[in-house]
Subunit: 290 residues, 4 copies
């Protein structure tokens, strides 16, 4: 089985000029759930990707100790206490996409939050399951929640969820596991792989400059932001987010030994503008012309 290499036409396919007659609801609503007492930075990085990609309304549910840091860097995001079940459930009802996992942690409190999220999602929502949410899901054998699911595990998390050891994570084995699981699976690795009901892909770009903590949280937030905002085709939105994440990183890596996650988010508005002006189906040559 051979995966198809994604190319940059996925960007112009998804990121189009915004319709003039619009308001913030037009561009989606997202809730990101994560950020326990220890991993507050993870939810900040995921949220930055959602905000800078242009999601209309962004709310975060996290440990309250993280709200000051979040608001300082991202005043555009609203925040609630992730242990407040009523607030959490109420907010889930109002969004297009829920992202759960970045910095959620794996302790008892994390599990309670995850269960509350899983109990509240709805069939027509996109639910991105990332990081410790994947680990908890596998460890606790939880039933999958309602919604269109997108899993964004790194290889070890994928091993826990699929029970395929890293060395046996071939496209065939991964595809079989994704079909059994349902939904979309993004296996985050050097040249990430994306398994979907309508095709299976390999990301041919990206570099070792991205191999730093928080990079995966940023991707989860971007997948969330794109599925909330570009709602015509969920698979394409996930593919475009994955491609854009590494395309921006590759641009930054031309001048940097390492690329920090927050730098990718901050570069999104200019990157997406160029894409939106390139027109459908054109090669835009980011890696060569910039």
């Amino acid at each position: 089985m051979k995966l198809t290499d994604l190319d940059e036409t996925i960007l112009t396919d998804v990121i189009k000029p915004r319709p003039q007659e619009s308001y913030k609801g037009t561009f989606g609503k997202i809730l990101l759930v994560g950020g326990n007492h220890q991993f507050g930075g993870a939810i900040m990085m995921a949220t930055a990707a959602a905000v800078y990609s242009g999601t209309g309304l962004v709310t975060v549910a996290c440990d309250p100790t993280n709200i000051t840091a979040l608001h300082t860097q991202l005043p555009e995001a609203m925040a609630i206490d992730f242990t407040d079940k009523a607030a959490l459930t109420g907010m889930i009802k109002r969004v297009n996409t829920v992202v759960v996992g970045p910095g959620l942690g794996e302790e008892a409190a994390s599990l309670r939050v995850l269960k509350n999220v899983f109990a509240a999602t709805m069939a027509d929502q996109t639910v991105v399951i990332d990081g410790s949410a994947i680990t908890l899901l596998a460890r606790e054998g939880l039933a999958l929640p309602a919604g269109h699911l997108v899993f964004t595990p790194h290889q070890m998390e994928w091993q826990r969820l699929s029970e395929i050891e890293i060395k046996h994570q071939t496209p065939e084995a991964n595809k079989a596991a994704q079909e059994k699981l349902g939904g979309i699976v993004v296996v985050k690795r050097h040249h990430s792989e994306i398994y979907t009901p309508t095709g299976d892909w390999r990301l041919p770009i990206g570099s070792a400059a991205q191999a730093v903590g928080g990079m995966g949280d940023t991707l989860a937030g971007l997948v969330g932001g794109f599925t909330a905002q570009f709602r015509d085709d969920r698979v394409k939105a996930v593919l475009a987010a994955t491609y854009a994440h590494s395309a921006v990183a590759d641009q930054l890596a031309e001048d940097q030994y390492v690329v920090l996650p927050h730098q990718i988010s901050q570069a999104l508005p200019a990157f997406m503008k160029k894409v939106s002006e390139s027109g459908h189906g054109h090669q835009i040559g980011f890696n060569h012309e910039n």
Copy 2:
């Protein structure tokens, strides 16, 4: 009924070179009230607009949990606890403009704060009523406070306040509602509309790049900053703030798919400098020459 299109001469009409003999009081004092435990970012964004537009003294009354984030990003702003009625009332007595609503919330505590503000404003002040303050005002049927009132609702808030459904918000209906209400009304939408006792206007600029959360908070803060600072003609100050807000956004949108609210505020000092040097009544052509 036809609204008159605003043009950029409103900017040079209002934003003039500062008089040399002056001190910070010359440029006005403002109090912004909002920012509950969940919406701290909203009051930060409104305050940023007031600070970067050059208001002489800026104070914020908010939930104390937001003060650290506020001071980190905006050390120029002073802060008080919005539940401290004596401090709140005392501060209102010392300012030219009060802005109430950004991130205030709609719970019981929010209402208490709003009532305290409404009880304390004075006839010669500008009082900008925004966001959840409009919703509370409509829901609770509060009497209007003393002061020169400026309402800055988005269309749904305007529906609540005017009882005109969005689909029936024609200029005629809006004008009638503004005349009944008194004061100035800025209906925030794609091509915002501004109804005033001395004329009614339509904003012909702005784009979908602005359709993100916090954009309205920033406009409310800027209307506050301009009315505090440019006190010769309140209507013109409101018109200039509304125009400047979208003119800056349009500049940024030339290179960005989305424009974040805090970016507009940070661009104000350079934008206002160019305006102030252009001279009264001149076309300054921001959208063409930059």
Copy 3:
């Protein structure tokens, strides 16, 4: 009586290339005391000026609620609780310059802090008395502390301290009051005036772009930073700080309608570098060539 106009030769006179053989103690130690629960931004702005001007070691004593915001923006500064008398007194013993007043407030707790500072300063230190410390000093009739005193009042604070009404604040009256008081007095106003035991000066530069809250806090911090770092001649250090503060602002005001205090501090390292390379006594023409 005519005040002498300061000119930019004061900059090259004071800001010289740093000696190669040096360590951080070479460039002075400063303690800044202020920042109550309401005015945390003021002590941050004063501290920024001290840090960016190159003071070797910078410590802040403030209300503990301000420490997170301070560390976020200025990790170079150390922080103690200003109500911890032992820590405060101990720190005063270890510094060259104490700045007291920015955002200190005027309540009972502020007065206790001020009294603790005044009881601990030493004859060979520079003590900069600013803002609410001046108001408290005047209101409470406190005895002056030990040390080489520098007062940095704005005109209303100067009225309280000197008992000269603003309209009667002529050079003659100001000079007489400074002589009675002792030390150096910087009357902050449009074209600030500096009264010293060895001459009296007027600042001919600066503009209304500086007329925003926090500008005076920044000047107090810069006077502190310069007196701690440039210890050959205290009067010249104060004059150079006052001149540099407005010279940097004038540069920024070429492109900005208003200049925010934190922007002045951040521009200091580049500004001081240019000065240090210009050589003693040369006209460096910042306002024309930049």
Copy 4:
């Protein structure tokens, strides 16, 4: 005894293009321990150097009051409470390098943390001992911990540890003390000296622009980041970190009177990129060509 002058070939020797097939674990894991209630900025500055130098995973153990400031500036770093012995010990088991000391303080609580760190380190780890950890080690006569030790004292801390007065800190005396102590010793001073089991070096670059508080914390963090990431040769990693720290500062000092520690860290990704593209053994002439 004559120390060998380090030259910039140490940079290309250590900082090489990253292997494509890699993940964040490839680039090391680091734990930084420090930052008490007073010195939170110190641990932030050390951590910034570790993050911006590209360490794969960065965790901080500090006083919990510092976590908000840390996450605001460095969301990439994870954080634990340094008084939580189980969490601290558990984290030490999972990293390549432990840095202990920046802003740790010298009180009883600091000592408890230090003892917990010393009890948990392992023989195959790099342990960087800096700042107050050195002072406590000397004062309390603690036994040295397991691990490959790197000491980064300034001259006064070196006096405390080696019992050699500053005026007697000759290369001969320093070398004898390093041999007795074991490990690597970086004596931070104007032209720092690095004593190692395989050679002794003098840093010929750097300037008085670096003589500000926090510079040593940044170096400790960078030594940590390099030893965690470049694990082929510990001595070379320490030498390269020391050289890079001052080489970046020298670049910045071309345009700045003082260089702030956080500016060095933020400049690392671009600096390291240039080095990595220069190729092994080449002179890269940073000080001349930039």
